[in-house]
């Protein structure tokens, strides 16, 4: 080995726009990266324009099918207990699941990146205290905490049928709760990278010419942890969709804006698996599994490209 081993993502990959394009190209050249991107692109299209494929979301009023009818020519995925087309519900749920997942990911990674950079750069007691809290969140069963928090916040706000930007308040509560309970692993990863960047010459140079801490964190640390943030965002997205699905499954979803998890909960509560009504839950279940699987593949591909240690071995 001739070159010194640099901590990954701090090296030369993707400093400029050209580098970033190079990153995209390298990810797409890997079979896991390509498969992940194709699956995600398909679901993104469904999430953007569900009406184009299945018309508007059916309700108990506009439902036309039989109750719990098996798949037929008119209803390819059968119908639910109200006579709504399961295909229609599943395609519309794609949007809810993906949007909730995306918003929750933005909050999670946002908190994690800010805490990680500041904590790593400032160091000392502040760092010790925040990492103590981060470790606390890593250990405790955050899912049970999320259940309690969601229930309490909804009771306090009295969510009802309020909407913000077309998303019901009850779902936004879930977004915020996922963010509060899952930032800690991102913060830990970004912090350790920041710790090593802080000791590098270009940071020293900036400090010597009198740059403020805020300036150094924004202009010198942030660009150098950006790749790490991107890789982490992909994996966080998968986790957020799983968490939202599970929270909806235990009864915290919104029947008026059903996500995949909400549909799975509805299927379980009418006893679909026991009645042999596989068509009720297999489509939304496949949606969750495929999207999370695709994010995991993409995350692995990114990790292989960005992490020289893994690249050398694979």
């Amino acid at each position: 080995m001739t070159a010194p081993v640099l901590p990954f993502a701090a090296g030369s990959v993707a400093r400029s726009t050209g580098g970033r394009l190079d990153l995209v190209r390298q990810v797409l050249q890997r079979s896991n990266g390509l498969v992940g991107v194709v699956i995600l692109a398909a679901f993104t299209v469904l999430a953007l324009v569900p009406e184009l494929f299945v018309g508007p979301l059916q309700t108990a009023v506009t439902a036309t099918g039989p109750r719990l009818g098996p798949p037929s020519a008119e209803f390819p995925f059968g119908t639910d207990e109200l006579g709504r087309s399961v295909l229609n519900l599943t395609v519309h749920a794609t949007r809810i699941s993906m949007v909730i997942g995306l918003l929750a990911t933005i909050i999670t990674v946002g908190i994690g990146a800010v805490v990680g950079i500041v904590s790593g750069y400032v160091g000392g007691r502040f760092d010790a205290a925040t990492m103590r809290v981060a470790d606390f969140f890593l250990v405790i069963p955050t899912f049970v905490l999320a259940i309690i928090l969601t229930a309490i916040i909804r009771d306090i706000l009295g969510t009802g049928s309020k909407e913000i930007a077309g998303i019901r308040l009850s779902l936004l509560v879930i977004v915020v709760v996922i963010g509060i309970t899952s930032w800690s692993s991102t913060a830990r990863i970004i912090r350790s990278q920041t710790l090593s960047l802080r000791e590098r010459t270009f940071v020293d140079r900036a400090r010597v010419i009198g740059a403020s801490g805020g300036h150094i964190m924004r202009r010198h640390i942030l660009p150098n942890v950006m790749n790490l943030i991107v890789a982490n965002t992909v994996l966080t997205f998968a986790g957020a969709i799983l968490t939202e699905t599970t929270l909806s499954f235990v009864g915290l979803g919104d029947p008026f804006q059903p996500s995949w998890g909400q549909l799975l909960e509805a299927a379980r509560s009418v006893g679909a698996p026991g009645l042999g009504a596989w068509w009720y839950f297999v489509p939304s279940g496949a949606g969750v599994v495929l999207v999370v699987f695709a994010f995991t593949l993409l995350g692995n591909a990114l990790d292989e490209v960005l992490n020289p240690r893994r690249r050398a071995r694979s």
């Binding site: 103590r132 470790d135 606390f136 890593l138 250990v139 405790i140 069963p141 955050t142 899912f143 049970v144 905490l145 259940i147 309690i148 928090l149 229930a151 309490i152 009771d155 306090i156 998968a238 799983l242 699905t245 599970t246 499954f249 235990v250 009864g251 915290l252 998890g261 799975l264 299927a267 379980r268 679909a272 698996p273 026991g274 009645l275 042999g276 596989w278 839950f281 279940g285 969750v288 599994v289 495929l290 999370v292 699987f293 995991t296 593949l297 071995r313």
Partner: protein, 325 residues
Amino acid sequence: MAARYLARRLVSAGVTILMIVLLNFVLFRMMPGSPERILLGRIPGVTQEVREATKREWGLDKPLFPDQFVAYLSATARGDLGFSYANRGRTVTEVLGQKLGPTLLLFGLGEVIAILLGIALGAYSGWKRGGIIDHVGNGLSLILYATPYFLLGMGLLLLFATGLGWFPTFGMVTAGRAYDGPLDQLADIGAHLALPLATVSLGLLGQYAILMRSSVIETLGEDYVTTARAKGLPEGRILQRHALPNALLPTVTLIAINLGYVVAGAITVEVVFNWPGLGTLTVDALASRDYPILQGVFLLLSVSIVLGNLLADLVYGLLDPRVRT
């Protein structure tokens, strides 16, 4: 040195438990409604005297901090977690105690099966990297990892209970059945346990296999493995004596750390099969907004996980002298 390691671990676990209780206290005071009514389980027709007595007992007429928190802390330490809303007049501790057994049975067994199979699968695929078992196993592990536990449960229920009729569809025992003897009863519980147990084991297996696989691959690249190869040791012996023991330690630690994440997600399996444990209790309590029960579940799970982690740390320290610093 070992004594200092032990002391540091104990203090750290103690601080974490204190933080859990503090969080529970904050949640309890965030709840809508007056605290003494929450503590009494929202029973109707409570006299003014009883309310005043509760207020005094919990120090609710004194400042939040430190008086009320200290009262809350000492009550928690005594195991007094208040009354359940949904089960009128029953304490939280009583309700939790009743549901703990079935959950321990299901997840204790499930964890053991998943750890053994997952480590075996992961070790083998890491060793025979790029082989058929590795490819199939890795793909399967990734898909299992992407599947929520309850969804896996619904699939197994549909296939093996509804479709093939091999197993009962719900509960822990057949309702109202008279048994010929203890063996007969055990067989009935076993039949009910099979599917939830398979779900929990399969759900956990994927991530344990992934962890073990990358740990084995990492270890096989270490210098001491190259040395062992240079000495001309057979591959099987290198794996057994050099790679596996060193790959096992970080995997077991990661399993312990992930316990909180895993257990909480896995409780949803109980709901699918109507297994009468903590998971079903949690979902029922959520539906009826039985906050004292929810907080009790949170406390019980968190403290068990912290103690489990402490145990893993101590075992790790015993096995690997490098961490005792």
